[in-house]
Subunit: 438 residues, 2 copies
Amino acid sequence: MNPVELILKKRNGYVLTTDEINFFINSYLSGAITEYQMSAFLMAVYFQGMLPDEITALTDCYIRSGKRIEFPEGVITADKHSTGGVGDKISLMLAPIAAACGLTVPMISGRGLGHTGGTLDKLEAIPGFQTSYSMEQFRDLTLKHGVCLVGQSEQLVPADKRIYALRDVTATVESPGLITASIMSKKIAEGARHLVIDLKVGSGAFMPTLSRAKELAELLIRTGHAFGQQVTVVFTNMNAPLGTHIGNALEVIEAIEYLKGNFLPDTQEITEALTAEMLLSAGLAKDYEEAVQHVRKVIADGSALQKFREIIIAQGGDAAVCDDYSRFAPAKYELPILANQDGYLQSIDSRSIGYALIGVKAGRMQVSDSLDYGSGAILYPKVGDQFTSGQPIGTLFCNDQAAGEKAIERILSAFHLSPDPVPKEELILGRMTLADLQ
Amino acid sequence: MNPVELILKKRNGYVLTTDEINFFINSYLSGAITEYQMSAFLMAVYFQGMLPDEITALTDCYIRSGKRIEFPEGVITADKHSTGGVGDKISLMLAPIAAACGLTVPMISGRGLGHTGGTLDKLEAIPGFQTSYSMEQFRDLTLKHGVCLVGQSEQLVPADKRIYALRDVTATVESPGLITASIMSKKIAEGARHLVIDLKVGSGAFMPTLSRAKELAELLIRTGHAFGQQVTVVFTNMNAPLGTHIGNALEVIEAIEYLKGNFLPDTQEITEALTAEMLLSAGLAKDYEEAVQHVRKVIADGSALQKFREIIIAQGGDAAVCDDYSRFAPAKYELPILANQDGYLQSIDSRSIGYALIGVKAGRMQVSDSLDYGSGAILYPKVGDQFTSGQPIGTLFCNDQAAGEKAIERILSAFHLSPDPVPKEELILGRMTLADLQ
C-alpha cells in the first residue's frame, strides 16, 4: 500500500478498508508515514468524512496502540465524558456520587486549554493531589476505592495522543469521525462498560446545532456498541457557564458545597441527569425517577462527600480542604464585578469568559503555561436575569490586580443584554441511546 | 497572525488576503510554519479553491522566493509550457523553430516522473548535453543563441520547488490554484513575455474535461496578465501518445527528423499550432496563416535544424547526432510488437504505455531512478486505425530482453479495440487568450 494513494482515495471520497486504515495509522506510528502525510490525510477526512465502519477501524487502531484495562466480570464500570465547557465541574461531583451509588468509575480526564477548563487541573488545585499513575496503579486504585481520577498515561491510546496533538495545530479537530475515534478509544481502553456523554450544543459550544450533535451522537453510540460499550448521549445547552464558580480551586469549592447539599439549579439538573443515566445504563435503578432518588440519597446521607474525601486521600491530596477552603492556594485580590448596563441577560459568551480568565491564569493558552489555582471568578447571572447598572453580579479572584481589572472588563462585555424580558433556557435538550437508532 | 487560524480560515472557505498568503508562505520558507501545517493548508486549498487574487498573491510569493530574469527591452521573449504527456517531444522542435523565426526562447524544463517524460531527460540523451546552469549563464546563453534549454536552478522559484515536492507526497497536486501558481511563477521568473500553454484534455490527461480545462486556462491567463505576461492556451486532445517515438533518444531522433522536414500528421499539427501562437502573440506574424508559413519556411530552408545544432553545441552536446543516430546510447534488442487482436483502435491508454516503458528504464518511477536513454518504443497506431492480429505495429527497444517482452505485453493491453470502425479524433480542441475573457 502506498500512503499517497490512500490520501488520494480519501480525498476523492472513497471508503477506506480496515486494512488500509490499519496500514496508515500503524505506518504513522512507526515513522514510515510522515507528519505531513498524516496532516494531509486528516484534512481529507475533515472534508470527506468517515463511515461508521471506518471509524470503528480507526478506534480499534487507536486502542491497540496502547494497553486496554480489563476489569473483573461483575464489576460494573461506568464513566462520563463531557465535550468541554466553561465552569464545568460536573465530574468532581458525579464521580464520587456514582461511586457512592455502587458504580466503579475509572475516570481519565484532561487538562484545560484555551477557553475550557480541565478536570485534572481542578483536582490538582487540591494540595498534594496526584493525577499521574500507571495503568496498573489506576486499575488497582479504581477497584479499591470504586473510583479514581487520573490523566492519560503514556500507555493509554498513544496513537490518539500523537494524532490529537497534530490535529490541534493543523485545524483538523472538528471532524465527527476523528472526534469519535479520539473520545471512544480512550473511554473503551480505560475499561468503562457504560458511558454517558454530555454533548454540549449551541453557538460557541462543541456542536453548533442539535442536528449536528445528533449525527455525532449516533457515531459515538455505534462505535461504543462495536466494542461492547453501552453509550448514552445527553444533549445539553451550555451557552452559559455552569454553576457560579469558574477557576480551579473555586470549582472544587463549588463541588464540595454541592456534595454538602448546597445545590444550584443548573448544576443540580445536569449532575442528577448524567449520574442517573449512568445508574440506569448499568441497571442499578429500574427507572429515571429511582435513579435520581438514589443520587439524592448519597448526598443527603453524606456518603458522596465521604467518597470524595476517600479519593483525595487515596490520591495523595489534603482532604481537609473539604472543611477548610483556606487550604487552597489564595487569591490576593477579590474585586467586585458590577453590572455596567440595564436590561435582561439574553446570552453569555462563555468562550469570552474562559479567555478573559486566562488573563488571571485561571486557564492556559498553551500547554506549557502555568496556572494560578486560586484565581477565577464567581459569576451569578443566568440567562433571563435582570441587570441594573451598578448591581454586584460577581467577584473576580486574582493575584495581579491590573490583570484582574482587565479580566472584569472582558467578562462584562461577554454579557449581552436585551431591553425586553428574556425567557429562561432549557438546560437538557434530549438524550439518545442505541435503542433510538434501531 | 496564527498559522492554525489561517488554515482554519481557508478550511472554512474564506478568502485569504495577500498579507495572509505572504505570511503563510514566507513563514513556511523560514521554517516557522511546519511541513505538516503546510500540507494541511494545501489540502484545505484543494477542497476550497483560491480566487484569482489569492493565486496572484501566491504566484508573487513564489517568484520573490528566488531570482527573476529581466531581458533587455526590445528582446521578444516567448516560451511554451505543456502539461505533460507520453511521447510529447514538441519542445525539441518548437524551441529551435521559434528561435529561427526570431523569437528569444528562455525555456526551463523538467524531468520525467511516472508515466510522463521530461524534456531535460530527452536532451540529456544527446551525449554531452548540459542542462544545469546558473540563472545568469542561462540568460547569457539565451541572449547569445536566441534559445536555451535548461533545468530549474536552485535560484528559480525555490518556494515552488519545496511546495511541489510536498504536494507530490500529500495528494495535493490537482488543485487549479496551486497548479497555476506553480506553472506561472516559473514561466514569469524565467523572463518570457509571451507564453503558449499546451493544456492537455481527456481521460488520463491533466484535465479530464474541456470545461475543467477552460477554468484552469482562465486562471493561467489572468495570473500571467497580472505580471505583464501574455498567455495563450491551446487545448489539445492527448489521449494517445504524440508522434511515433517514445523514449529519450528515440524522441530526439523523431524531433531531428521533423526538423529535416519529415513530418507526421499529429506532431506537425501540434508543433505548427503552438509555434504559430507564439509568433502571433509576439506580433511576428499578422495572422495565423502567415505564422504557419513562417514556421514551415525555417524548416524548409534548414535554419531550424541549424538552430538546433547551435543549441546542442552551445550547451556542450555532440551535434553530430543530427546526422548519425548511432551516436546515441544503444538498445541491444529491437523486439517487434505485433497486434494480438482484430478490430479498430478505439482508444489508447497512454498512461499505461508510459508506465510499461518504465519497465525498460525509458522513464522513472522515483526521482532517484536512473534512465536507459536508448530504450523505448516506436508505436505506429493512432485512434481509428484498423488492426489485424499478427500485423507489426511497432518496435520495442531495450537492453533487457525479458523486461522488454513484459513491456510489450503491457503496451498491447493499452490498445482498446472496437469491432466497428472508429472515427479519427480532433487533435486541437480550441484556444483561449485574455481577449476571450473580456
